[in-house]
């Protein structure tokens, strides 16, 4: 994939559209997933995780901060997975 346009990822059945750089700059999981030969013909990437905590972490990746009240055990566990 030549462009750095938005990509769509499907996390546990919920789709999220974001910039690839948002993901690869923040997550070693996405850094590995989106590097190499990925992207030439994929419309959507499927990640088999819970979408609710992912939404929280994606907001953190975009903003750079996170509300303490938004952090759950699922958010922490997923953050370790995506770390």
């Amino acid at each position: 994939m030549e462009s750095c346009g938005p990509i769509t990822i499907n996390v546990g059945g919920t789709t999220f559209t974001t910039s690839p750089t948002t993901l690869i700059n923040h997550s070693s999981y996405f850094l590995a997933l989106l590097s190499g030969t990925w992207g030439d013909d994929a419309d959507e990437i499927f990640v088999d995780q819970d979408p609710v905590p992912f939404a929280v972490l994606l907001a953190y990746m975009r903003r750079g901060n996170i509300k303490v009240d938004d952090i759950t055990t699922d958010v922490l566990t997923l953050a370790e997975f995506l770390g």
């Binding site: 994939m1 070693s28 303490v68």
Partner: protein, 255 residues
């Protein structure tokens, strides 16, 4: 192919901040000096985030452990070295015990009001209710927590948007200040925080001897809340006061 830019991974930074907040909330963070030391200590003690969750420690990530958290302690007590025959011979000592280290002599004061105002100004707020049966009469201990997150300037401590409760605590940085009212028949006396020196020396006090304007002075400076109970703690001091004065009361204000 994507253009890969290798920046520090911010989820790693988030996880580091999680460990710092968590370890501190459990009451162990202040003993470490760097972020990495705290994260390492957290992992060594709790085996990482997943283990800490399975140990049931997640509530302490959200909210500080009120029981287990290390506190600094400051104690005000009467100096018993001199013969306590008159109120003029009474002096107070203030000692501090920082992060569980040895007790350090901090200050000697000639008034209870000055000693207490000094420790309030240094962030001590919670009165520790010690067991009086074991001879703790004539001294009072107050505690404070070291708010590492507020002192540390590293980027990891700026990741979290605080809870409403934390926000309230942060902005509610007011402290108590005391003044003592003394009456000897028609003569009135006040021991108040020193208006001139207070910014430099919160232990400093001024003695004001006035006529009937004493109550107005207290009201004008918002010393309106009666502080009862100190006479039960500092029994010796108040007994000596009552020999010289017909009435003695302590008032407080929040500044």
């Amino acid at each position: 192919m994507h253009l890969l830019i290798f920046l520090p991974c911010r989820l790693e930074q988030f996880l580091l901040a999680v460990k710092i907040r968590w370890y501190y909330n459990i009451g162990r963070g202040p003993v470490c000096s760097t972020d990495e030391e705290i994260a390492t200590a957290f992992e060594e003690e709790h085996g990482g985030i997943r283990t800490a969750i399975s140990e049931g420690l997640f509530p302490f990530f959200l909210k500080q452990d009120d029981v287990g958290t290390e506190r600094d302690l400051a104690t005000v007590f009467i100096e018993f070295g001199a013969a306590l025959t008159s109120i003029d011979s009474v002096r107070f000592s203030v000692t501090e015990c920082i992060k569980g280290n040895d007790i350090q002599e901090k200050r000697s004061c000639d008034s209870l009001v000055g000693a207490l105002n000094g420790i309030f100004a240094n962030g001590y707020t919670s009165h520790e209710d010690l067991d009086r049966q074991n001879g703790y009469v004539n001294e009072a201990t107050f505690s404070r927590r070291t708010h590492r997150a507020e002192q540390n300037t590293s980027p990891t401590t700026r990741i979290f948007i605080p809870t409403n409760n934390e926000e309230r605590k942060h902005h509610n940085g007011r402290r108590k200040q005391l003044a003592m009212y003394l009456q000897n028949n028609s003569q009135y006396e006040l021991i108040t925080p020193s208006q001139i020196l207070i910014k430099d020396d919160p232990f400093a006090t001024t003695n004001i001897i006035e006529g009937h304007g004493t109550h107005l002075y207290l009201q004008k400076h918002r010393f309106i809340t009666r502080e009862d109970g100190l006479d039960e703690i500092f029994v010796t001091y108040f007994n000596l006061l009552k020999r010289k004065y017909t009435d003695c009361r302590v008032y407080s204000r929040m500044i």
